[in-house]
Structures are given as structure tokens and as C-alpha cells.
């Protein structure tokens, strides 16, 4: 429905705060008081779908209905922002390919392993997951390796799109020409090459659920870009704890360009790259190579 006929139940401040806190507790997303109008417009769709007349009743539904859990997921789905595209924040991706991947490769080989695990936490429609896989492939450093790029999201809708791997022009606004070879033109849009798709896996996972996050296993690098900006402090700390637990020692965490851990977690150390600053799960001091004098 367009703004032309923007009608439906209204959300008063009290209802907004109750719903906001409920959704926040479920998935970490936090809406400030001035976002009430956005929440009202987005949730109206859910009320229409359920045949519910007002937001108080919707709140009760979320609290007590046997299908409340599924509805919470549906609410989170309409409330989340899923804006993403291929090769977003290229300078950071350069740090990933030129500096992080060689280090991670060296560490794996030292363990006599040829496996690389990367997690895209909050992957939305999958562009980041495929970008990571393409970048790894293009380095040529991992021929014959077992590469696993895992993407998760709370929205089943975007995961369907991610698995479909077919995208329209909006996803290519920052496309790098040399990676065009990884796409096949189809009637529905441009589809990621099957070889890249075979490296990528997707799962429905709420980042706030620490126990479920164990599905991800141990990873060498985590991308969590422009996800935590939608969370409140407590939820951010909760998610960062999960990410920390999932990272191998010395594993890297890449956040969005406007995000920082300064106020959220001291568990990670800063790793200065030539084109970006990233975070790293510390390696125990005793395992570090001796300093050169």
C-alpha cells in the first residue's frame, strides 16, 4: 500500500514501546521513540494478514498465541532492513583478500588443514556471501581447499532469495568488472556461477540465540557489517559474545565502516590493515612468535 492511502490501526507510544521491547528481546533490533511511525506502517501489514484490528491485540497475540513464535519471526522480517549489494565497501574487501586471507591460509597450513570457514552474520539476500566466495576463489590461494562460506539471517524471505542466487541491477551498483565472469545471465536476472554457489551455505539463525549460533562451528573470519547498527547495546554485546565464541583464535571480525567495538566489547583486539582497521580474536601471548629486536 502506498502513502496515498496510508490507513489502518494507529500505534500509540505505549503500544509502540511494548512492541519495540518485545521485538528487541527476541532479535536485538532496537527502535528509538521517533521510529514509531515506521514501526506502525511496517507492522500494519502483519495485522492485516492476521485479521487483527489493533496493536494491543497484536501485542497479546505475540505474548500468548500458540503461533506467537512464528509471528515474531514474521514481525522481525518486516521490521528489518535488507539493503545490500555485491562488493560493498571495496577497501575493506581489499584488506580481506590481500592481508587477511594469506594469514588465515598460513595458519591453516600450519595446522595441516586445507579448510577455510567464513561466516557472514546477518547476510540478508546473500550478496555478501557470494562476494566473499568470489574473492576467495579469485585469489587462487585456495585451490583444492574445502571452502565454506556460511550466511545466516533472521528473515526466511531473504534467505530464499539468497539460495536462488539471482539478482537484479540494484545488487550490482558497486560491481567490479573483473568479477563479471562469476555470473550467468538468465531471464530473471544475473545468477551466481554454480561453482561459487557450491561454496556457499545458508541458514535461518537469530543472532541473539547464542546456543543456535553453535551451528556455525568455528570460523576463520566473520563479516558482520551494518548489522549491529540496528541493535541496542545489550543485544550488541550478546551478539559479539557469540561471534567471539565462533571465531578461531587469531580469527578476524570485519564490521561496517561506521561501526566500532569501542563501547561494546574489549574481547577483540584491533588489527591494523593497510586499507582498513579490523578486529581479531587475540592469540594467547605464549603462542605469538618472538619479537624481532
Amino acid at each position: 500500500m502506498t502513502l496515498l492511502h496510508d490507513v489502518g490501526p494507529t500505534l500509540d507510544l505505549k503500544e509502540f514501546r511494548l512492541l519495540r521491547d518485545f521485538v528487541n528481546h527476541f532479535c536485538g533490533i532496537y527502535f528509538a521513540d521517533d521510529s514509531a511511525y515506521v514501526v506502525e506502517r511496517r507492522l500494519r501489514e502483519r495485522l492485516r494478514e492476521l485479521g487483527i484490528d489493533d496493536f494491543s491485540e497484536y501485542y497479546r497475540y505475540l505474548q500468548y498465541h500458540p503461533r506467537a513464535q512464528a509471528e515474531l519471526e514474521a514481525a522481525a522480517e518486516v521490521l528489518t532492513t535488507n539493503e545490500t549489494y555485491f562488493f560493498r565497501e571495496a577497501y575493506q574487501l581489499r584488506a580481506f583478500t590481500d592481508e587477511i586471507l594469506p594469514v588465515v591460509r598460513g595458519r591453516a597450513l600450519a595446522r595441516r588443514s586445507k579448510r577455510l570457514d567464513v561466516w557472514s552474520a546477518g547476510c540478508s539476500s546473500g550478496e555478501e556471501v557470494y562476494t566473499i566466495a568470489m574473492l576467495i576463489d579469485a585469489t587462487g590461494l585456495f585451490e583444492g581447499w574445502d571452502i565454506r562460506v556460511f550466511g545466516n539471517d533472521i528473515s526466511r524471505r531473504v534467505l530464499r532469495k539468497a539460495r536462488g542466487a539471482t539478482y537484479s541491477s540494484a545488487s550490482f551498483r558497486a560491481m567490479i568488472p573483473e568479477y563479471e565472469r562469476y555470473f550467468i545471465d538468465t531471464d530473471e536476472g544475473r545468477q551466481v556461477h554454480p561453482r561459487i554457489r557450491s561454496m556457499c551455505h545458508f541458514g535461518h539463525l537469530n543472532l541473539m540465540n547464542q546456543r543456535r549460533a553453535a551451528i556455525v562451528g568455528r570460523v576463520d573470519v566473520t563479516f558482520c557489517r551494518n548489522v549491529l547498527i540496528y541493535f541496542d547495546d545489550a543485544s550488541r554485546r550478546n551478539v559479539l559474545d557469540s561471534i567471539y565464541q565462533r571465531l578461531n583464535r587469531g580469527g578476524y571480525l570485519l564490521l561496517g565502516h561506521s561501526e566500532s567495538l569501542l563501547q561494546s566489547s574489549t574481547a577483540f583486539e584491533i588489527a591494523q590493515m593497510s586499507t582498513d582497521i579490523v578486529y581479531r580474536r587475540p592469540i594467547p601471548y605464549t603462542e605469538l612468535p618472538p619479537r624481532r629486536l
Partner: protein
């Protein structure tokens, strides 16, 4: 971990071990001596310092800590320590303006600004006196730091001080003040702002403040900025012009005239912003294009509406454009379907609202376009055509609209439902006839039930009864809800069957509908529903019986007070209060010690029905509850009692309340608002 091991870890060469040691110390802060806290704050690793900041903020030796940090802020060369000290001071030094004043006096010129930064971080209004002196002092660096500190503290006095210094000759300071006032959201008067923006550098960062003046004289400056080579500056100017125009009620016509007469480069900048700007810039550009009645930008404006970028003011401005907009809208017919859908809907609405002013030929054209598009392949266009029939619909359209109700698109069905509801008021018999053979088993079954509920006729009830056999639970639920209008004994029995429906939402709808019916036939199925395995059904049944004043159900509803589901206990208590049960007082008291918020709230509601003294005592318990919404309810109910004692209770609660919304509720309630 023992103290010795903690001490050992604190001196480890491994920064992560030191970090963990300080983290552990922060779990027992009173056992950490001040010297160790200060050592931790000066650690070489930022993560250790960050943990140390949390630790320092918890120490009991606050005065000694503040004294030590005030010295370190000015004396140390260790940037990490200085920043950590500033942050800790910001957290703990509220109410210590005198200490800062002395420290500032003693500090050298180059380092005083660090103390000023810490003063700002305290957000303590008591610091403003000292900051005023520094703002007026001769050191521009310190004055600029004072600006930043005043912005952190905020408030009317800080804003006034900043505005008074807007005409300072120091460019650097003026820039700081303009940026600060912009961040504070201050509305500066045009005559106060004008001297500051004479300088081109200051002007470029003043767009937002210029827009907020509401003065038409600011427009010339903003038009100049709108064509700035920097996209950030030109976008900010454009948004500011939109705000200026939106605010200026008296001078709006004058501003629009000036904007409409602006030169080609300004127009190009506007158009570019409308097409490629960020969301808020597009929003502003769309608004201005409509206000200026710029037909060349109409397609881009409609795109903005379709993208959900345009704001309500823009939509209202489109409506206010009047009949002159109709032809340009109809010219969008060959454009993108979603743009055309909006154009058609708006043209239909405008032509209907200004019926006498629209030529017959145009009206006929719109009518035939609506008829044609009602079968369009694009859902958006089809929905727009159906939506347009809210105004233009007549007897001829009933069948086509009923066909729309079979569409798999929710958008199309919702628009057709709205149009049929409007028609049901004008030509109910024809709508009923068109719906006679409607497919209640199709995707639009629930929508059909909705329209039928508006008809209030025996024929409609007969069609609705058919819907009870639908295989789609959404349809069955809608039918049950719609049948509330019938309120007849045989219908109550049919709805009673729905209490045993396999879908829980149908059951809930049935219980609610039975609760609304006056026939006594409804009581039996409602009593059965009290035994439902589903908690929401038991709760709804108790509420329905309570509303119906079915006092015979009291014993069974009392039993629900022992239910294991909070929602059921809360509903039972509400029902018993409505039924004026003799055991409500005891039940309310028990509810007010329940851990679930909903039960507690039901306890408050029930308490409100008790004699005043008891009610006051029990309701006051709600003021101490940890959940803000529970406190809000207690406040509302105490305000409803409104006597000297409840006012005293609320005044006391106000002193300790931390939630701004709850505070406001008490304040406005006490004022009689």
C-alpha cells in the same frame, strides 16, 4: 581467582590476560585500591583501559579518584590515559563543578581544553557557569572546547550562550558554534544568524540553521548553497529549503513564487536531487517540486511516492494541487505501471473531489480508464482501479469488483473490498446480488465475508452461513466475526460449533463473537470453552462470560485463578471483577505478588473496583513495579481515584521515577491534564 593470582595476571605481559584481570576486578570493585585503578587506566592496551573505565566508575573513593584524574588529565603525555581519565570524569564527576573550576585555574593554556572536554561529558548543568567564562575567554581553542561541552550538556541556557556568541570575530569559533547549534536542533532567529553567515565558509555549514529560521530572507542564501559543487552542501540546502517552506505558513506563497522563478541551475539541482538524492533529500525535493507545481518533475515525484520515499506533506500538497494536476496525471498512462497506478488513483480522487470543475469529457475518460484497468495484468494497476471505484463506483461495477475478490493478490482484494464496502452503503441490494454466488472457498473468502457483514440483511447471513464450511480457516474466522451482526439463536448455535473448530484463530473468533451476542444460547458454548486445552481460548471465554455478566459461571472462572498460564489468570481476575465476585479482593492481593506483568496488571484493575482505601493501598504497589507499563497503569488508576492521598503517592513516585514517559504521565496527570 585468588587475589595473588589476580595481581599476577594484572602484571602479565599478555594484554588479554591483563584485560581479563581488570574485568575480574570490576566484578569486585571495592577490593581494588585506587593506585591499581589508576595503573589500569594508563595501560598500553586500549582494551585494558576500557575495562579499567568500568572499574573506576564503580569505586567508592570517588573524591580521591576525581582529584587524581584531574591532575592526570593536565599532566600526562599518555594520550590513552588522558582519554580514559576524561571518560571516567564524565561518568563520576557530576556535582563537582568547583573542582573543575580550580583545576582550570591552575592548568596551563594548552591543556585546559582537556578539562573542558571532561566537563561536557559530565552533562551536568552546574558546569555551565564555568563554561560561560571559558567561552568568553581569550583562548580560542578553549572557547571551542567550551562550545562542544555546552552542546553535550544542552538545555536552554547552553543554547542561549551559544547564540550570544554567534557573531564572534573568530571564524573557527563561529564554525564550532554553528555546528553545535545545528546538532542541538536550535531554532535561531534570522537576525541573530545573519551576521554569522555573511562569511562563505560559515554559510556552507549553516543550511540546516537557515532552514529552521522560518524567515523568507534565508531563502536567497539557501538557493546559493543549492547549486554548490559539493553534493553534501547542495543536498543540505535543498532539505533546508523544504523545511523553510514547510514551516513558513504566512510567507509560504511568497517563497513558492521565488522558488518557481529560480534560475536553470537551481532547477537542475532540484531535479537531480529528486532523481538521485538520498531518502531525505528526495523527500525534500519532491515536496518542493509539488509546491512549485513543477509538471516536468511530476513523474519523478510519483516515483518517489511509489518508492515510499515521499512524505505525507508531499501527498497532501499533491491533493491540494487541484484539478490542474488531473491532465498531467493522465499523461503518465504509458509510463511505468506502478507510477501509473498512483497517477490513476490520484486523478480519480481529484476529479471526484472537484466534480463540478472537471469537464465531462475528462470525467468520462477517467471512468473508462478505471474500467479498462480493472482487468489489467499488473496487480498494482488493477488495485488502483479498484481503489478508484471507492469514489467512482456505481451499480455497474459490482460484478467486476466481486471478480477482483478472487484475485490471488492481497492488494487487489483489499482495494476491491474497500470499494464494495462503499457501494454497500449506496446500493446494498445490488452488492448482495453480486455476492450471492461468490466463491467463499476462493482466496477472497474472508474479504467477501467482510463485505457481507456490512449489508446487515437476511440474504447476507444466508451466504455467510455457507462460508462456515469453507476449507480456508481465514474465511471461517471472518465469517464467524461477520455473523455477530445476526445475533440470532440459530446463528449462536452455529458459532458454538466453531468453538470446536480445528483452527485456534477460528475458535478465538467464535468465543469473542459469542461474547458480543445477547442471546442466552451463547452461554453454553462459552462455558465449554473454559475447558479448552488452549490458554488464549480459556482466557477469551472467561472475559466473554464476565462481559455478559454470566454470574452462574463464577465458580468455574474462580477455578481458573489457579491456572498455570498467566494470560488465563489475568482474564479470570478481570472477569470476576466485572462480575463483582466477593472473592475479588483476595484474588487481587494475590495477583499483586505474581511475577507475571499481565497478572499484576489484572490485579491493579481489580483493585480499582475495591473500596477506596483498599484500592489506594493496592494500587500504590504498582508504582514500585520494575516494568514501566505496569507503573503507567497504576498511575492511570490512581489518577482516576484522584484524592489528596493518591496525589501524595504520585508526587512521591515522581521523585524517584526514571522513565521519561512515566514521569510525563504523572506530571500531566497531577496538573489535571
Amino acid at each position: 581467582m585468588t587475589s595473588d593470582r589476580l595481581e599476577q595476571a594484572f602484571h602479565s605481559a599478555d594484554p588479554d590476560v591483563r584485560r581479563q584481570a581488570v574485568h575480574r576486578m570490576s566484578l569486585r570493585p571495592q577490593r581494588t585500591p585506587l593506585t591499581q585503578i589508576l595503573d589500569a587506566l594508563s595501560d598500553t592496551d586500549w582494551r585494558v583501559r576500557r575495562e579499567a573505565i568500568s572499574l573506576a566508575a564503580q569505586t567508592m573513593e570517588q573524591d580521591a579518584l576525581i582529584d587524581a584524574l584531574l591532575v592526570r588529565v593536565v599532566e600526562t603525555d599518555n594520550i590513552g590515559l588522558r582519554n580514559a581519565a576524561i571518560e571516567v570524569l564524565g561518568m563520576v564527576a557530576q556535582g563537582r563543578a568547583d573542582k573543575f573550576a580550580k583545576a582550570c585555574e591552575a592548568a596551563g593554556e594548552g591543556v585546559r581544553k582537556f578539562l573542558v572536554e571532561a566537563m561536557g561529558k559530565t552533562r551536568d548543568p552546574q558546569m555551565v557557569d564555568q563554561l560561560e567564562l571559558l567561552l568568553r575567554g581569550s583562548d580560542a581553542n578553549v572557547a571551542a572546547a567550551a562550545v562542544e561541552a555546552l552542546v553535550c550538556i544542552g538545555g536552554a541556557r547552553a543554547e542561549r550562550l551559544l547564540q550570544e556568541r554567534l557573531s564572534t570575530p573568530h571564524l573557527f569559533l563561529r564554525v564550532s558554534i554553528v555546528e553545535g547549534l545545528t546538532r542541538l536542533g536550535t531554532r535561531v532567529l534570522w537576525e541573530d544568524l545573519r551576521p554569522a553567515v555573511e562569511d562563505a565558509i560559515v554559510r556552507r555549514i549553516s543550511a540546516e540553521l537557515l532552514g529552521r529560521t522560518g524567515d523568507p530572507q534565508a531563502l536567497e542564501f539557501l538557493l546559493g548553497l543549492a547549486t554548490d559543487a559539493s553534493p553534501q552542501t547542495s543536498s543540505a540546502a535543498l532539505r533546508a529549503i523544504a523545511e523553510l517552506t514547510g514551516q513558513a505558513e504566512v510567507h509560504r506563497a511568497e517563497l513558492i513564487e521565488r522558488l518557481s522563478a529560480s534560475n536553470e541551475s537551481v532547477r537542475r539541482a532540484f531535479h537531480e536531487a529528486l532523481l538521485h538524492g538520498d531518502t531525505s533529500t528526495r523527500q525534500g525535493a519532491a515536496y518542493l517540486a509539488v509546491l512549485c507545481r513543477d509538471e516536468n518533475s511530476l513523474e519523478a515525484v510519483l516515483h518517489a511516492v511509489a518508492d515510499d520515499v515521499a512524505n505525507l506533506e508531499t501527498v497532501e500538497a499533491l491533493r491540494s494541487w487541484g484539478t490542474g494536476l488531473i491532465e498531467p496525471l493522465l499523461m503518465q498512462r504509458h509510463g511505468e505501471p506502478r507510477v501509473w497506478a498512483i497517477a490513476l488513483e490520484l486523478a480519480a480522487e481529484l476529479s471526484y473531489r472537484h466534480l463540478d470543475a472537471v469537464p465531462a469529457g475528462t470525467r468520462d475518460r477517467i471512468r473508462s480508464l478505471i474500467e479498462r484497468d480493472l482487468t489489467d495484468a499488473t496487480d498494482g494497476v488493477r488495485a488502483a482501479a479498484a481503489e478508484s471505484l471507492r469514489w467512482w463506483g456505481d451499480a455497474r461495477d459490482c460484478r467486476a469488483l466481486v471478480e477482483c475478490l478472487s484475485s490471488p493478490s492481497h492488494q487487489v482484494r483489499a482495494a476491491a473490498t474497500g470499494a464494495l464496502e462503499a457501494l454497500a452503503k449506496r446500493v446494498p441490494a445490488l452488492v448482495e446480488k453480486a455476492l450471492e454466488r461468490a466463491d467463499l472457498d476462493g482466496p477472497g473468502g474472508a474479504d467477501i465475508a467482510h463485505v457481507l457483514s456490512r449489508l446487515d440483511s437476511e440474504g447476507a447471513v444466508e451466504v455467510l452461513k455457507r462460508g462456515l464450511h469453507s476449507s480456508d480457516p481465514r474465511t471461517r474466522r471472518a465469517v464467524v466475526q461477520a455473523l455477530a451482526m445476526a445475533n440470532a439463536t440459530d446463528v449462536a448455535q452455529l458459532i458454538g460449533y466453531a468453538v470446536a473448530d480445528e483452527d485456534i484463530d477460528v475458535q478465538i473468533a467464535a468465543v469473542r463473537t459469542l461474547g458480543q451476542m445477547s442471546t442466552s444460547e451463547a452461554n453454553a458454548p462459552l462455558s465449554t470453552a473454559l475447558d479448552s486445552p488452549f490458554a488464549p481460548i480459556r482466557a477469551e471465554a472467561a472475559l466473554a462470560l464476565g462481559r455478559r455478566e454470566a454470574s452462574g459461571a463464577i465458580p468455574r472462572i474462580r477455578a481458573l485463578l489457579e491456572d498455570h498460564e498467566p494470560v488465563v489468570i489475568a482474564a479470570a481476575l478481570d472477569a470476576l471483577a466485572w462480575l463483582k465476585d466477593s472473592e475479588v479482593a483476595a484474588a487481587a492481593e494475590r495477583a499483586l505478588s505474581h511475577s507475571d506483568d499481565e497478572v499484576f496488571q489484572a490485579g491493579l484493575r481489580a483493585s480499582h473496583t475495591l473500596p477506596t482505601r483498599d484500592a489506594e493501598r493496592l494500587l500504590s504497589l504498582g508504582l514500585q513495579h520494575s516494568a514501566w507499563n505496569v507503573r503507567m497503569l497504576a498511575i492511570k488508576l490512581l489518577l482516576a481515584l484522584d484524592n489528596e492521598r493518591t496525589r501524595k503517592l504520585l508526587t512521591e513516585a515522581l521523585a524517584t521515577e526514571s522513565d521519561s514517559m512515566v514521569k510525563h504521565a504523572i506530571e500531566s496527570g497531577l496538573l489535571g491534564g
